[in-house]
Symmetry: C2
């Protein structure tokens, strides 16, 4: 165990052809692909710990994962070796050896997600797997007003998807930024951690505020009611990107 | 023939899964997909005239095509009807009825292509089908200097790909703009018309200037030599976009 290293990877992936991050039977997961590539490279079976579980078709620009391995490959070179064996839609963009107590999920202090929307009355082929098409204009100012009610520490039951087994529904959101540039709207959400589908339900609800279906001030009541039926639709997965995971040790 | 209309389409497509614009035997072409969708919609066989032939894996943000058809569908609504039958990676973003003498290719007065490069020492999964990865820095100022030699009317034999049957090699380039933003470099080329692979060979040559393999002033000699062996490599297809086709009637 002399040479045992804790290797951290920062990963970019195109989630289009995957069932999500987490290993599942009879499904094509990103975690399984990476563990397979590590095995092909090193002949060692490892368990990869991911910072966040991304759903099917959700992308990552900066997913973080770690694993323990006895290897002579230097941490910072690991990405080059591993990328030789990874499929073209999953690559390590950064790798390094980190302290033994680093844990991709538990050590994370903040995550940033980006949700991409485009406004168009027709589908755009080049964006079909990478953004959410809305066929009418959105009132950005109302969306910004609505988003303010979500900042801070709340019970987010109304913004949690089904099939969730999380006990505490209390989460802390640090910021929601909404940027419009030409026909594109980006919603950038930062928080300590997130419930299942939370960013997609927040997005769906903000879109309904943007179209006028909901009033900004309703968001407060929706939060308080702790009832998923009152919030908006779950925005589709292809617009969502896990952009960055923050750690204390890299501050 | 009372109701015969000349319909113009502006098309966006993701070229990743196609052998290119033009119909070929035993290949999956964009032209064939659109003609098939028009047939499914109208039960009429048409011949689509495209403004430019894009190669396999090349994309379009604004390819233009036209065809004649007897139909009661209004020109501006044609896109919605047609999009119901087109695959998700090819869509009409605009349609209209145009004068009978409009010809997508012969009426075009100018075309704009965009070539997208990203600088990274590792492959980026989300860009793999949409840009050209260069793993070292490029000297943008030298590339700009080199591009100036290409502007104007020249014999572009040195910048023409193989398997071309075009007689005249004289072409007029109006402008080459090179923009850098973060790790992205866009090369935007406007000209009256282009030889086969011309934008990709111009890009490959400018990249070789950017890395220092070629000097900017060599471009003049390469043009004069009329010899394909002297110019740079053909940049890969996935970075190229047919962005816009210009016509007098829409000025």
């Amino acid at each position: 165990m002399n040479n045992m290293k804790n290797i951290m990877l920062t990963l970019e992936y195109d989630g289009t052809n995957y069932s999500g991050w987490q290993i599942q039977e009879n499904a094509n997961s990103i975690q399984a692909e990476i563990q397979k590539a590590i095995y092909t490279l090193t002949k060692k079976e490892v368990t990869l710990i991911g910072a966040g579980r991304t759903d099917a078709k959700v992308h990552a620009l900066g997913q973080v994962a770690n694993f323990f391995i006895e290897t002579s490959i230097p941490g910072e070179s690991f990405k080059y070796a591993l990328n030789e064996y990874l499929p073209e839609d999953i690559k390590a963009v950064y790798s390094n050896e980190v302290p033994k107590d680093f844990h991709a999920r538990f050590s994370a202090i903040k995550k940033r997600y980006r949700y991409k929307i485009y406004l168009s009355d027709v589908e755009r082929p080049l964006l079909r797997n990478y953004a959410y098409q809305i066929d009418r204009n959105l009132d950005i100012n109302k969306m910004k007003e609505a988003s303010k009610y979500l900042i801070g520490t709340h019970n987010f039951t109304s913004f949690e998807g089904r099939r969730s087994f999380t006990k505490s529904k209390i989460r802390t959101l640090h910021s929601i930024e909404i940027h419009k540039r030409d026909e594109f709207i980006d919603i950038v959400v930062e928080g300590e951690s997130f419930l299942r589908n939370m960013v997609r339900i927040i997005t769906g609800t903000l879109v309904e505020v943007g179209t006028g279906k909901k009033n900004p001030s309703e968001i407060k009541l929706i939060l308080e009611a702790q009832d998923r039926r009152l919030s908006g639709h779950t925005a589709p997965p292809q617009g969502l990107y896990l952009e960055k995971v923050f750690y204390d040790i890299f501050k």
